[in-house]
Symmetry: C2
Subunit: 203 residues, 2 copies
């Protein structure tokens, strides 16, 4: 009933199954659906194990967040170092899983202080890396960064991607194709045609 192995290596099966189940439940039914009993059932383990591995529920959420955050940092570093960093970043931030999970954490942070603190800390690190990476890239493309500072370019791209992701999550996609066309035209003007398909399976 438990999964065979985690790719990390030395996590216990039950622990990993609980983390996976939590993420799955948050995505499919929202964070409020994550109760100790429900998540244990979804993971196929005993409810008592939630408290054995994580203590209070807060810590379970935090661990899911940290795991997902670490993955995002890795993927972002790859994107920034790739051949076509703007295309790679754009594809990355458009990933549906991250977006949907983000909405849940955003709302969760609203009434769990510890979660909010962790989100803020992570986002700061994440953004600083984006800004550093983008300044080099835009400078190399000859962009006038006094008119288009990397901070603004990055935020606009990110905002567009995540916002459309949020809308799509409740079935709305009015105007999305027009917006994607515009953004991709601008990226294309700086970086040429997309050569590799950066989109990949989520998770």
């Amino acid at each position: 009933m438990a999964s065979i192995a985690s790719d990390g290596g030395d996590e216990s099966d039950a622990r990993t199954a609980l983390l996976d189940a939590t993420q799955r439940l948050m995505l499919s039914e929202g964070y409020a659906a994550v109760t100790s009993r429900r998540v244990a059932a979804e993971a196929g383990v005993n409810p008592g194990l939630v408290y054995y591995y994580f203590g209070p529920m807060d810590e379970l959420f935090l661990e899911v967040f940290r795991r997902s955050a670490a993955r995002s940092l890795e993927r972002q570093a790859e994107a920034l170092a790739s051949e076509q960093p703007l295309w790679a970043l754009w594809d990355l931030i458009r990933d549906q899983t991250n977006t949907a999970l983000n909405v849940e954490f955003l709302a969760l942070g609203n009434h769990r202080k510890a979660v909010m603190a962790e989100m803020k800390e992570f986002s700061l690190r994440f953004r600083r890396l984006q800004f550093e990476g983008l300044s080099t890239i835009l400078a190399a493309y000859g962009v006038d960064t006094s008119q288009w500072p990397p901070e603004a370019v990055m935020l606009l791209m990110d905002a567009a991607a995540r916002f459309m992701g949020e809308e799509r999550s409740y079935g709305l996609n009015l105007g999305h194709s027009h917006t994607i066309t515009v953004v991709e035209r601008l990226i294309g003007q700086l970086e040429g045609k997309r050569r590799t398909r950066g989109r990949r399976r989520a998770r």
Copy 2:
């Protein structure tokens, strides 16, 4: 203990107090904090009245959503009809209250089917009005709408505004000032300097 009068006129005091309390609680502690007992205490009325006025809790959330949606439609119509519609729209969508409430409804919709359906329906109406309004406006300003379709312009503006609102809600504002400068420079190029301050007190 109940508020004196609603501006609409003929709503009962207790009913209005419950709607206000629900919105307040959603903003301060998240939708999960809205329970019949809690919201009644916040409104200063008896918990039984929640069920008397709204039936099941879903309906309470829906009424708050409808009320806020109606207000948004009005304000948007005003903005589109104003002297400087781009500035007015930008100021409107940057309103913090709407953004934060939106995150809550987004997450709430994830596990309350009725809420999600209502959100989708409203958003469709809302966007269609935006697109219609903006096409006239951009055409009047001589914008090349094959390069910059109103749908894309609107979504990019909206995405930027709401995204920054979301980040601000957990204390993050890295790069926001740069982004605001860029957006406002672009608006200024089309519409000239902002003449009236469109920002107003929320609610």
